[in-house]
Assembly symmetry: C2
Homo-oligomer: 564 residues x 2
Amino acid sequence: MRQSQIFVNTLREAPAEAEVASHQLLLRAGFIRQLAAGIYTYMPLGRRVLRNIERILREELELAGAQEMLMPALQPAEIWKESGRYKSIGSELMRLTDRHQREFVLGPTHEEVITMLVNNEISSYRRLPLILYQIQTKFRDERRPRSGLLRGREFLMKDAYSFDASWDGLDQSYHAMYNAYHRIFERCGLTFRAVEADGGAIGGAGGTHEFMALTDIGEDTIAVCSHCGYAANLEKAISKEKHFESDRDRIAIIEKIHTPEVRTIEQLTQYLLIEPMEIMKTLIYLADGNPVAVLVRGDHDVNEIKIRNVLGVDLLMLADAESTVVVTGTTPGFVGPIGLSIPLFIDEAVIRMESGVVGANESEYHLKNVVPGRDFSIEHVGDFRNVKEDELCSRCEEGKLRFMKGIEIGHVFKLGMKYSEALGARYLDENGKERSFIMGCYGIGVSRIVSAIVEQHHDERGIIWPEVIAPYKVHLIVVSIKDETQRKVAEDLYNALRKREIDVLLDDRDERVGVKFKDSDLIGLPIRIVIGKDAINRNVEYMERSVNEKQVVSIDEALLRVNI
Amino acid sequence: MRQSQIFVNTLREAPAEAEVASHQLLLRAGFIRQLAAGIYTYMPLGRRVLRNIERILREELELAGAQEMLMPALQPAEIWKESGRYKSIGSELMRLTDRHQREFVLGPTHEEVITMLVNNEISSYRRLPLILYQIQTKFRDERRPRSGLLRGREFLMKDAYSFDASWDGLDQSYHAMYNAYHRIFERCGLTFRAVEADGGAIGGAGGTHEFMALTDIGEDTIAVCSHCGYAANLEKAISKEKHFESDRDRIAIIEKIHTPEVRTIEQLTQYLLIEPMEIMKTLIYLADGNPVAVLVRGDHDVNEIKIRNVLGVDLLMLADAESTVVVTGTTPGFVGPIGLSIPLFIDEAVIRMESGVVGANESEYHLKNVVPGRDFSIEHVGDFRNVKEDELCSRCEEGKLRFMKGIEIGHVFKLGMKYSEALGARYLDENGKERSFIMGCYGIGVSRIVSAIVEQHHDERGIIWPEVIAPYKVHLIVVSIKDETQRKVAEDLYNALRKREIDVLLDDRDERVGVKFKDSDLIGLPIRIVIGKDAINRNVEYMERSVNEKQVVSIDEALLRVNI
């Protein structure tokens, strides 16, 4: 392709709203353009990057035994109501009605469609297992689209679904996809970790892993063991609690203390001259509208996902001040576990405390020397908090947990029978008995991968594309397009490379060479060959974008190096 | 691929609503499945067919200098309001609002998006010409989706847009795309004609051609000259009118005749014992709400598109009885041109009549001996009718027009400045003067091509795919999968073909051979190799689906033939 003809514009500066490097660079280098919030056009360079990723996806998924299909974006609302997701996904689901006032949704994923379809087509266990995938545009009405392709409202996704006749079969399908995902992300040049994760709103039974591209701008925190292979999303991560050895009998009786204007953990520690870990923090939540209390140690954060999973509710939110007063008799800041008439969920770390300070459920008062089991009954105990860095790994009990930031680029789920049961999707087993399909689902954010790659592969001057992803492999730059020798050498090289089926971008523009170099740095093709004054001696300048070291070589040598 | 594993089901019968062969066969052979009216899932076989077409599209369009992009399906309603199409497309446009109550449309095409984009990116004539394309899912809320993939509500389309600095440039871009379309449809194995067509609601200036796949089920009628290359959609076709030689002076004065209950042309011919061509038919239309009268010969049909184009209106509809009474004083059936106070559009063939019978604008009366120019003034004369078969070709004036039926599979338009002017999209010319981009647009219905191919390539037993389109090239059928020799030979052949990168489907199912042959006929892969009892002698049966002649050949010979 000739740069004088390609539909690409580079920008000196990215718009102010582009905060992360990938968003800035993809805009500046002319790979994408925004049409509306979270809605992007892929320009020719961006489209080529997508196609390269799509090729890798297809190759690896076919190897894993998956078959490609294409399902519609427009889906009848009825099947979403049947699965329950019409309600549970809420306002992120894009909805519309057709001219006959029939309701449709724009699919954010395709569990309903594929489950109904497989149910119609497959009636016998003999036709299982089955792994089906598609590369397709998805829609999600994000409340706050941001970070370019990372959190958009229309995005390209690879989604796959497996159907098995046994749990062992599901394990095998899951494993095949898990391995394919490893190969896919490796080929994309990504540094990533597969981490244990929570099922989220999509629900399901059994294991689920997220594939996280590691980068500081990641919205997810990952806990990784310093010793063994354990890695989990913070929402799911657990640590080994220290053994509890304490004699609670020696704790004095409860003491009520006046704590005016002392509402936060920080204020309490200063006022009482104690550590946060000597406090028991009580939070009131509304779980699908019903109040519950959660008790964690003062230095710990509540993990709402863990609570939601234990409660089996869709919606969990902190109670507002008004609801808190109704439930506890006092305002947030003075709430405590004693005397509450709502379910009490106590984190294990609280159980391990000898005693602690709690709110008195009375304005401006706290209680000291409060002992779990003695002063309030121990009802529901569990792991309801986020792990903290440096805690002991629960798997190997040797390493310490370290935190990393990641972008979720893929996700594998064992769905089990969640959808097949909800939608009545069954097959006949070898005894002629009806059974629900055992399903898995597997997603990769194709447009997200683009951003993740750029986050991991760039420098202050621009993008540094991995070779298999780059829109072109070689950037040929003519220093002076008016110089006949330079132009001739460039054209010859251009044709020679194209004949070898190497994708090459020829900068044949009548621009200053400085502009050309800047654009070339920004666009970030793997190999740059500069044809300048030395062309008369059949020499060119050869450079790899990732190394950034210029070398003068002969034209033949340049051709040879490109081919390696 | 092994047929025991592929996600394909064949059906003995197609659902009753599938009326055309392509719809029936694509369903029966398991290429597509319906999710909702006009909304289809492409099963693995169907997806492979689409991918083969996509490959041809990309190759030919890149050769024509077009660059691939990917634009969003979700488009802000504002730009559609700016172009005027938000109103003009009407209820076929799928509309939705996001969570912030902002209006969006699901794009049926992308003129607005690409025009705004190019306007933002391109400021100088030096960057022109530009041809951009995408292969993307489109949405259209058809009132009556039908014929499977032929008229759907969600469909795959290749749309392209050209931007030029001159009308000559547009001609060149148009020509390049016109030629690319010829190559694309030829490679797809289609019998087609490029025909002159009307611009339709998309509007524009200058030429436009439709590419019609010829088939009896086509919804469009094409007039084709028996002598020269002239071919046009009936909506656009013109014929050569015979020279007018007549002496109107000898016509008697108007005679008013009582015609009770005589309302139609047919009734009138019987009642007065005359031919339809002796009648002048007057029709009242509402053009964007304003009444106009159209006069055609009794044996001719009004061509509403020609009238709409002359009037420059969006909406043209026959007036209902009530409006007709208001305008003419009488009910439909007795309307005539004399004494009307609304614009009168007279077809040329009427002008050529010596005299004729017309409605009297009075209930139960007609008028005889009515002479154009004498009895009613000749205002707007033009070609306002459909041509009839066997009329003289207007181009060569030698051949006669023949009618054919076609499916529109592609469309090339000279848009001119319709969108660039509406959206203020301008560049600077070589004198630094602002000018509107001169545009063309070019569409191919990718999913439609699938149907058109099947319409043209099938027999009573199933589909007969052209080789470049077929989901697999070879169908290997094992007569008895329990026979070890057969199975061994089949596996060897399967591996040998795959090693040569030939797409092969191996029917390794434990089914009766009759079932396998029926399925194979239905699915329609180009080459069938049957491994039966003769496998022990290393012989197989070789057959081409299009020829349907079995030959016993050696395994090596079979391999050789496949490779040709």
